[in-house]
């Protein structure tokens, strides 16, 4: 394997573009999962009968391999002209992200110390005030841990999205395999790993920053 030649013939501009694409795909998917997952987690504390079915559904979805999920979505999304491209990829990653975020939100909210919950209720806070002023701030570190899981997982999953034309670093990797181009393959794999590491570190930092001061050790 000739490293120097790999670095010379690779289109680094394209690599950069694919990396940004990859980040955008994962970012949008996880972002949507937060927007949907956290309120659903709150709903599950309000209506406990929801927690079983919702968590069950999210778990089942996680077990469906990504290629199968893309295959299932293709005919559906084709109806609105988006069977290929970022939309199905983002949808799959969104669905995968739901479980960690949903579950962590629910767990964090239900694990608020009973003394704190009783005090909040007894001094005259409404359910929503308790949520806003106490429960959610306390839940943020745990929710972000779920986000971290979702992001790192989906950075890997999104490499498969190349097969439906969604772009991202998978393009690099799959093309390299089809051409027996070891150099490009390794470059692609390394970039994906670095991306995952950076994302994890960033989110760790975010988790620390957003943890309420009163909880930091």
């Amino acid at each position: 394997m000739d490293w120097l030649s790999t670095f010379s013939y690779m289109d680094w501009g394209q690599v950069g573009a694919l990396t940004l694409q990859h980040v955008a795909l994962v970012g949008v998917a996880v972002g949507l999962a937060i927007l949907v997952g956290v309120p659903l987690g709150v709903a599950m504390t309000r209506f406990p009968w929801l927690s079983g079915p919702l968590q069950g559904a999210a778990t089942v979805v996680l077990t469906i391999p990504s290629i199968a999920l893309f295959g299932l979505m293709l005919p559906l999304y084709s109806k609105i002209g988006h069977g290929l491209g970022p939309l199905p990829a983002v949808t799959a990653a969104f669905l995968y992200s739901l479980l960690p975020i949903l579950r962590n939100t629910y767990l964090a909210l239900t694990n608020v110390e009973p003394g704190i919950r009783e005090a909040g209720k007894g001094i005259g806070m409404t359910f929503w005030q308790r949520l806003r002023m106490v429960d959610i701030p306390l839940a943020v570190p745990v929710i972000l841990a779920g986000v971290r899981t979702a992001v790192v997982m989906n950075i890997g999953v999104m490499t498969i999205a190349a097969v439906i034309g969604a772009g991202g670093l998978g393009v690099l990797i799959l093309t390299a395999i089809s051409r027996s181009d070891m150099g490009q393959l390794i470059v692609g794999a390394i970039i994906v790993s670095i991306l995952a590491i950076i994302a994890d570190l960033l989110l760790q930092w975010l988790q620390r920053t957003l943890t309420p001061k009163g909880l930091r050790s």
Partner: protein
């Protein structure tokens, strides 16, 4: 906040792009699979049609069934397809026909799905079994029958690499070993991504492997194609396949594509593939070069 904006943008953009249909020049959406030959064909088609006044959009690197499924669902207009692939993988045929009969049959079957086969190229990118040159010389393996002999003769395992799809299709591996009376144990069959077969052969990690006859890596990796002496592998002539509604809207495409298709034979295709796989040129550059050389643009 920014995240929200980008989400809204993405969703909004998706919506707008689906709504933006009616415009001046017709848009032809071309799909290609992952391997280099497909990318080159896709680029050639796109650049050629552009020079003829069409707008084109190439969605490259799709999984094989994804590309077909997308075309059936109206997401793609034109794909380069192979007679054998459509017959066996998409239409679930089992009979192996002559090249002419294959073309006729597949035309018939796909027409029923509103997919029209335009004038075909001159090359057939069919399967072959290949061995590294040292193996061919050392063990005197020149045909698939030779291979079968070697495999059956000893208890020592001989690993053979197949792509996953071929290994599991009812008209793939099973009838092949039956035809050649090759006794392969489950352990000797290694399934993998088709691109990896070449890597495995180059690294002598397998004894033999299933390759494609127009692949650009055959010469460079010093692989010898074994003769299909019992004529098992079917025809895989390549041709552009277009959706019926797109063809009816743009009937001149059929005539336009013909000269391009006629220019492509086995050797030409193999050479173009090698320029991408070995020479590391981009498919777009190679396509452009070819079209200019033949005065098509």
């Amino acid at each position: 906040m920014n995240r929200w904006l980008s989400i809204i943008f993405t969703l909004g953009f998706a919506l707008v792009s689906t709504l933006a249909t009616a415009q001046e020049k017709p848009l032809i959406r071309i799909g290609t699979k992952v391997f280099s030959e497909q990318r080159i064909l896709g680029q050639m088609t796109a650049q050629y049609l552009q020079s003829k006044g069409y707008r084109t959009d190439v969605v490259a690197g799709l999984g094989s069934t994804v590309a077909r499924s997308a075309q059936e669902n109206g997401e793609l207009d034109l794909n380069w397809e192979y007679t054998g692939t459509s017959l066996f993988a998409y239409n679930h045929q089992t009979e192996v026909l002559s090249p002419e009969a294959s073309l006729e049959r597949v035309r018939e079957l796909d027409a029923a799905k509103d997919l029209i086969w335009l004038e075909p190229s001159r090359f057939s990118n069919t399967y072959a079994l290949a061995v590294p040159r040292e193996v061919a010389e050392r063990d005197g393996v020149k045909t698939i029958s030779d291979l079968a002999r070697v495999v059956n003769a000893s208890d020592e395992p001989h690993l053979i690499a197949f792509d996953i799809e071929f290994a599991n299709r009812p008209d793939g591996l099973a009838p092949l070993v039956e035809r050649y009376d090759m006794h392969l144990t489950r352990n000797e069959v290694r399934q993998m991504d088709p691109g990896l077969v070449y890597t495995a052969l180059r690294n002598a990690q397998v004894y033999a492997g299933l390759v494609y006859t127009t692949d650009g890596r055959l010469d460079e990796f010093d692989l010898v194609l074994l003769e299909d002496d019992k004529g098992y592998f079917p025809d895989y002539t390549a041709a552009p396949v277009i959706r019926r509604d797109v063809l009816e809207a743009n009937p001149e495409i059929a005539e336009l594509m013909a000269p391009l298709a006629r220019l492509l034979d086995d050797e030409t295709m193999r050479a173009l593939n090698a320029r991408v796989d070995i020479g590391h040129e981009s498919p777009a550059d190679v396509a452009h070069d070819f079209l200019r050389k033949h005065n098509l643009i």
